[in-house]
């Protein structure tokens, strides 16, 4: 078995965001639709509607859209998209209306100067985020991350998107089919047919048609039709660390068409979980993600209604009927098995606290596309590396999400107290927290070069949650040497903040302009 089994056809099962993103990224790179290119087939069930709650992205989405050859103007117009510059966490520390930002902005000269250390003596005067980035103050004012004269995908402040997941998968479908040559089959898979060696050979559809492929991508959501049902790859529950296992989601209409559009996802802590609030131009997406061990569905619904009544129309808050989603926090024991790889919810899911769902889809699809095995004989090598990378990422996501809970000082429910119980904290995180009392998170104490959450993110959360790290001292040469530079960087940030606040339009203004004029490509 050498070059005899080339990978010529990739079959993707599932027509949600995960399926179409994977199709688009694969098709764009592998010249799908050309004579010698890869064949990409996507099978979508006409009876299953996508779960459609992945509505917040990371800045990585800009690169993904560009790779697929999508115009940002078209994307914003068709997906009811707006700009996301990070997350604002409300009530996580004391359960009041205190808040902090985790913005996407990487502080200047991050790898050279430990600004967090020099910020310590100033912590009573200015928040960490306000000291190192103009972005938190821009978000306070609902400002956009760029101007109408800024080219497509370029930024004044780093950004991702908030989007309508239903519209987004339709938009991607159109682009994949019309521009990228992806074949689209609307039918139900009724049987998975195995080859002698245990690979998936083909799928039988309801129509009687059989679809053959060399590699199968499971994007069937929680159903996990291929990796779960067919291969029975076990699911690793992470409930011991992350308690949340249910969500109630609802779309909240806008009170008026010129209502301000928030620049961050709002995450407001509750008695037994937290409420997300995602601002789109035409509506908001709101949901309560909670732990069934600490609250009842009825109580959770009442808490959600209360939040909606406070932030939107009272009648709507009382009468709306949120949709329930049950999930088990965790992931599959492996994500790639034989010639089948799971991307999206089929591979795993945890609460969307840091919008990790879509970015995991993008990174998985990107690695699949970059490492797409030329033939079956090397596929197991790629599979092993793929599993290694993404199981590590899952591990790190879980730790980073848990960090948000362990720093809380809330004492109003067992949910918050138990979240601080050392038995519920991953061992690596416990060690890191010890370390961070004496040094700020830095590049070196994370383990991989391409960490999902960079040290900058850890700092925003730690210092947003009042964590104390020892300040600069005379014993360290680097502290003494960098003091004046740090002071000048803090000064620069004040100047830059003033400029940015003056120059940037609001999200609402910019989005109206995109609808009217569009961005230039250059």
């Amino acid at each position: 078995m050498t070059m005899s089994d080339p990978v010529n056809t990739v079959v993707i099962v599932g027509g949600g965001t995960a399926g179409w993103l994977t199709a688009g990224l694969l098709a764009a790179e592998h010249r799908c639709g050309q004579e010698s290119g890869l064949k990409v087939v996507l099978i979508e069930s006409p009876d299953v509607s996508p779960i459609g709650v992945g509505e917040g992205t990371w800045p990585t989405m800009r690169t993904s859209l560009q790779t697929m050859g999508v115009s940002e103007t078209d994307f914003v117009r068709h997906c009811d998209a707006s700009f996301k510059q990070g997350t604002r966490f409300i009530g996580w520390l004391h359960g009041q209306d205190e808040s902090y930002y985790h913005p996407f902005y990487l502080p200047p000269r991050f790898h050279e100067i430990d600004l967090a250390r020099h910020w310590q003596p100033l912590r009573e005067q200015v928040s960490y985020a306000d000291a190192v980035t103009p972005q938190s103050q821009a978000c306070d004012r609902d400002l956009a991350p760029k101007q109408i004269t800024t080219p497509e995908f370029a930024s004044a402040l780093n950004y991702g998107y908030h989007l309508d997941a239903g519209k987004f998968s339709k938009f991607l479908e159109g682009h994949c089919v019309e521009k990228l040559g992806v074949s689209h089959i609307l039918d139900n898979v009724v049987a998975v047919n195995a080859a002698d060696n245990g690979d998936i050979q083909s799928l039988s559809l309801n129509s009687g048609e059989t679809v053959h492929g060399d590699l199968f991508v499971d994007c069937t959501g929680f159903a996990a039709l291929l990796l779960g049902k067919h291969y029975d790859i076990p699911y690793c529950s992470k409930r011991d660390y992350l308690f949340n296992d249910r969500a109630l989601a609802i779309q909240v209409p806008r009170g008026s068409p010129d209502e301000a559009i928030a620049s961050t996802t709002l995450s407001t802590a509750q008695r037994a979980g937290w409420i997300w609030d995602i601002a789109l131009p035409k509506r908001r997406g709101v949901g309560y993600v909670y732990s069934s061990a600490y609250t009842s569905d009825e109580e959770a619904e009442a808490d959600l209604r209360h939040y909606i009544s406070e932030t939107a129309d009272k009648d709507f808050g009382e009468t709306c009927s949120p949709r329930q989603i049950k999930f088990s926090p965790g992931h599959r024991e492996k994500l790639w098995h034989r010639n089948c790889v799971a991307i999206g919810l089929s591979g795993g899911f945890v609460e969307p606290l840091e919008a990790s769902a879509l970015v995991m889809v993008e990174l998985s699809a990107k690695m699949l596309s970059e490492q797409l095995p030329a033939n079956r004989s090397i596929m197991d090598i790629v599979a092993r590396r793929f599993n290694e990378k993404f199981l590590y990422d899952w591990h790190r996501i879980i730790e980073f999400l848990k960090l948000h809970y362990v720093l809380s000082k809330r004492d109003d429910s067992d949910y918050w107290r138990d979240n601080r119980d050392p038995r519920t904290i991953p061992p690596d995180l416990k060690e890191s927290l010890e370390l961070w009392r004496y040094q700020s998170p830095r590049y070196q104490d994370l383990f991989h070069a391409d960490e999902l959450f960079p040290a900058a993110s850890y700092r925003y959360v730690l210092y947003g949650m009042d964590f104390e790290t020892e300040g600069p001292n005379e014993q360290r040469r680097s502290d003494v040497a960098s003091r004046t530079e740090a002071e000048s960087l803090f000064g620069d940030n004040i100047k830059r903040t003033k400029q940015v606040l003056k120059a940037l339009p609001t999200n609402r203004e910019l989005i109206s302009k995109i609808h009217e004029f569009g961005f230039q490509k250059i």
């Binding site: 101007q147 004269t149 302009k513 230039q520 250059i522």
Partner: protein, 243 residues
């Protein structure tokens, strides 16, 4: 002072006069002005032509460049504007062409002339009269009205020109670095020009299409106008001598 454009009429503005001298005190201290293919032939002999993005719409328009910094017009001297051609968008001041909603007949938009009553050019003692003593239109106003109509048509054609260039990727960002006599370095940011490499690689079909719409000629006018960039640098150097 903020602009105050009002619709022109022969009753209210019977005695209005307009100063036509060129000077900073009348608002000619601008570093660039919008221009149109229609006047490129004249423009390119005096000024470099670039593209700029409109700050409110982000859309590209060709501009004639007069200076390197905001409000620097190197063509302005004590004796007026030192060039044999002055761009339409400079000469149009203090007038503007606007539109009025007209309900009857199918046509709902009618062009109307407005005047900026806050312009330092506008007064009742000095300059060109707008209306004759007994109510008729002066030759000056009639020439200005004609010019405004030309601008309106030219402006509509600009959009087609820019779209055609963008479709063929013929516009690229450019950073002009200028070292002056006193060794100071000046950088011109936010300007765009024709991508000559892309232009060289165009197939004959695209070239034919550009030509049939008279865009090809305009493209070469822009390229030719670059020689005026040197004029601009020389003017700036001369200014350094004067100080």
């Amino acid at each position: 002072m903020a602009n105050n454009y009002v619709m022109l009429n022969n009753v209210e503005h019977q005695n209005v006069k307009v100063i036509t001298d060129r000077s900073a005190q009348y608002g000619d201290d601008v570093e660039s002005a919008l221009t149109f293919p229609l006047e490129f032939r004249n423009i390119q002999s005096c000024y470099p032509i670039f593209f700029r993005k409109d700050a409110t719409t982000g859309q590209f328009s060709p501009v004639a460049l007069f200076g390197f910094q905001p409000r620097e017009n190197l063509y302005l001297t004590d004796d007026g504007w030192d060039a044999h051609y002055i761009p339409l968008m400079i000469r149009r001041h203090p007038f503007l062409i606007g539109f009025q909603q007209v309900q009857d007949q199918g046509d709902t938009r009618q062009a109307v002339v407005s005047i900026d009553m806050n312009s330092p050019r506008v007064n009742e003692t000095e300059g060109e009269a707008l209306f004759l003593e007994h109510g008729g239109i002066s030759d000056y106003l009639s020439a200005m009205t004609e010019m405004l109509e030309t601008i309106r048509l030219a402006n509509e054609m600009n959009a087609g020109f820019v779209d055609a260039l963008l479709k063929l990727d013929l516009i690229e960002a450019v950073t002009m670095q200028v070292e002056l006599k006193d060794r100071s370095k000046n950088e011109l940011l936010g300007y765009y020009t024709i991508n000559e490499d892309k232009l060289q690689q165009l197939d004959s079909e695209s070239l034919g299409e550009l030509h049939s719409q008279h865009y090809l000629e305009s493209i070469f006018m822009i390229l030719a106008s670059m020689s005026c960039f040197r004029t601009l640098v020389e003017k700036k150097n001369d200014q350094l001598d004067d100080v």
